[in-house]
Amino acid sequence: MFESLSDRFDGIFGRLKGKGRLSQGDVEDAMREIRVALLEADVNFTVVRDFVERVKIRCLGSDIAQSLTPGQQVIKVVNEELKAILGGETLKITFAASPPTVILMAGLQGSGKTTSSVKLARWFKSQGRNPLLVGADLQRPAAVEQLRTLADRIDVPVYSDSIGPLAVVQRGLEQAKTLGRDVLIVDTAGRLAVDTELMDEIASISDAIEPDYTFLVIDAMTGQDAVNTAEIFHGTLELDGIILTKLDGDARGGAALSVKEVVGRPIAFASTGENLEDFDQFHPERMAERILGMGDILTLIEKAEEVFEKEEAEVAAQRLLDGTFTLDDFVDQLRQVRKMGNLSGLMAMMPGIPKEMKNAEIDERDVNRVEAIVLAMTPSERVEPALIDSSRRARIARGSGTSTAQVSNLLNQFKEMRKMMKGMAGFGTKKTAKSRKDKKSKKGKKGPGGGRVQAKPAVAAPKFDIGKLDLTLPGLDKNS
């Protein structure tokens, strides 16, 4: 439903071609659009006002860089300013000299504290720590039960008892010391910022355990009120950071920006899915692009990188380039991509995809159908689709519950793709081959510099595969 901000700017500045400097009027027009975009993204009203003022001053002063259109120029300034607000760096957790490192989770009802507590515990575990969870939400029925069930899945112990939240937390701290757990994560009951009684309660909990980190958990869908909530929690507890949840939804998450601006504490972690591993440190630069509606290509690439088994992806990429990519590989890739989330969500994250295509319903059933067709083939047919004659085609259609036309369609698309990839092979083979060699020879530990360089080609492979998927998704070809 949102037109991307860059599209709108391109419209506004279309007539400016060849001008060397933005006029006052041009900038005013752009600022109106920015204001609407930010408000639609739930950025707080006062934050928007100050922000637009700052951007305006910078835009009026600057010459337009040769390589950029005026629209891009403004986007660049806006993007830089947004990133500056969101906080340039990810929060670095330093651990307490005498363990445990104590973390207090606070927030409104339903913001996702319990789930985030467990996800955070998992994150610490992945960093080689031994967390203990404390269930101090004795208010909501079965909240502790929920905490225990989730914690079981990641094999992290939970302490709780029905002796009142303050006592639970104090004993939890003792438990952590006795058991030698080095991180203590305290899940608390949801409370409204206006509820002074409950705010006093959490203040006394905080006083009792003196947390090293206090995180406010905020739902990415929150509207203008996020600022008030954050201010009051900050006033009561002195926050160290924000945990932003439900970012896998389609909310723009402007509240995040407002909170960061008003409270001056970074967004430390973001939760991006219902699985316990969908949780990581926050990357402000990507959020800026999301708020502006510019897609989230960086996150997409990284997500792809995580999900694709690296070796597998490399083998598949190599086969693509060699032209020996089979239908089996193809279905494998489809499944991998699906692991990253539903396809429409993925498409929405990619900039540069035409709007019609983004809005097109990508029916998961189409993907299922492709899978069914391929699975109805014999192994040799999957490797060499040229074997498939009309009688085989009819058999495959029957076996997969599709029509022969659908089978032919898929085969044609696959053929085209293979042809195209073969054509591209000249460009990529060398690099890929080199990266594979690198990988093999440098498997052991290396200096940080070497590791970074090495990582790059590995990113390239999955990106390549996603591009390929767009070419072949049934149902999409008509729209593109």
């Binding site: 439903m1 609407v36 408000l39 639609e40 993204a41 739930d42 009203f45 409104l108 009802q109 339903g110 913001s111 996702g112 208010q139 909501r140 029925p141 079965a142 909240a143 039960e145 929920q146 225990r148 069930t149 989730l150 409204l192 910022a193 206006v194 509820d195 739902d219 869908m221 929150t222 509207g223 203008q224 009120d225 996020a226 008030n228 909530t229 439900k246 896998d248 939804g249 389609d250 909310a251 723009r252 402007g254 509240a255 219902e274 989330g341 539903n342 396809l343 429409s344 969500g345 929405a348 990508i362 998961e364």
Partner: protein
């Protein structure tokens, strides 16, 4: 009576049974500003006027809860989003700055850009036509306009062929389970027999949470294994409701973000199965957190597409005194807000009252 907007007849032992819902000619009850021929008055307004009808203890309990929980007074503890603006607007003439202030105030209440623009465009026309020059008059005109925009039917539907099913849907963490718990209590007080279906088979301990509520209000409770098919759990609850001759099935579902295609399809299936005999889906409530911003509109749109939502429950309104997004939802989607959550207590779920809602939005 808290929730008795259009419920079918309560059991005979209730002294209110002969009242139910009464169609009253306009002139007897409402001030003449409204231009309706006749309106359906919820029971509670009549109860207040006819206290002699009450002798039964149950009745007393219900009436207490009505008196105690007046919508506006319950919101008082939260500062109105607009209080600062309202004072300033009251003290100014109609000029460019007053329009800017109104715009800011509405946006701060999460009404949203588009809805705010349309509200103010119409108000500008009214101001011009009626030559409004003073701030207070303009504010009154705005209130009147918003009230008339929100003047829709909010009756809760229990009349249908078969066992009525009320389905609760929404994104994660909005308060679906808690809403069912509170609603079950209200219905139980009114003498209805309630079956609760733990259709949230995904979230850890969601069934236990609902079971606690069911125990509190004596509702029959049906659950499945964690990870079970929610449709089958709800269908089992309907069968069980038929056996016990229950009045309504309150069906919980797992929270889901509206952009998850698979989960939305699962929900559509839940609705189809719940609508199978002997069940009949009488209401589909979209539960929305009052602190939700512009994404609330997307939620309403997507859930309406998947499961044909019949009404909205606005939760946690005591925290913000805002919920301006429901204005956009009612205006754009035509989805009536039917219930409002005002706190954590079991009797903190009340019918939505648009007049009070608008008044509270602009109180200072």
């Amino acid at each position: 009576m808290v929730l008795d907007q259009g419920l079918p007849e309560p059991p005979a032992e209730s002294p209110l049974s002969e009242l139910g819902e009464i169609v009253v000619p306009l002139e007897e009850l409402v001030d003449e500003e409204l231009e309706l021929g006749e309106i359906v008055v919820p029971l509670e307004e009549l109860v207040d006027e006819e206290p002699q009808a009450s002798e039964d203890a149950l009745e007393q309990q219900v009436e207490d809860s009505v008196n105690k929980k007046s919508f506006g007074s319950r919101l008082a503890k939260a500062k109105s989003a607009m209080s600062g603006y309202v004072t300033s607007i009251r003290n100014s003439e109609v000029n460019e700055s007053i329009w800017e202030q109104l715009e800011e105030a509405l946006i701060l209440a999460d009404v949203g850009m588009a809805a705010t623009s349309s509200v103010l465009d119409r108000l500008k026309k009214t101001a011009k036509d009626e030559k409004i020059t003073k701030g207070p008059e303009l504010l009154e005109a705005l209130k009147a306009q918003m009230k008339s925009d929100l003047d829709v039917d909010r009756t809760l539907e229990l009349n249908c062929e078969g066992i009525p099913v009320w389905l609760f849907v929404g994104v994660n963490g909005v308060g679906k389970t808690t809403t069912i718990g509170k609603l079950g209590q209200s219905l139980a007080i009114q003498g209805h027999s309630v079956v609760m279906a733990a259709g949230d088979t995904f979230r850890a301990a969601a069934a236990e949470q609902l079971e606690t509520w069911a125990d509190r209000c004596g509702a029959h409770f049906v659950r499945g294994q964690e990870g079970a098919d929610p449709s089958s759990v709800i269908f089992d609850a309907i069968i069980s409701a038929e056996k016990r001759d229950a009045d309504v099935v309150l069906a919980d579902t797992a929270g889901r973000l509206q952009n998850k295609v698979n989960l939305m399809e699962e929900l559509a299936k839940v609705r189809r199965v719940a609508d199978r005999k002997p069940g009949s889906v009488a209401e589909v409530f979209l539960v929305i957190d009052a602190t939700t911003g512009q994404n609330g509109l997307t939620q309403a749109r997507e859930f309406a597409l998947s499961v044909d939502v019949t009404g909205v429950v606005l939760t946690k309104l005591d925290g913000s005194a805002k919920g301006g997004i429901v204005f956009a939802i009612e205006k754009e989607m035509g989805l009536p807000v039917k219930l409002v959550g005002l706190g954590e207590g079991i009797d903190d779920l009340v019918p939505f009252e648009s007049e009070e809602f608008v008044e509270t939005l602009f109180s200072n």
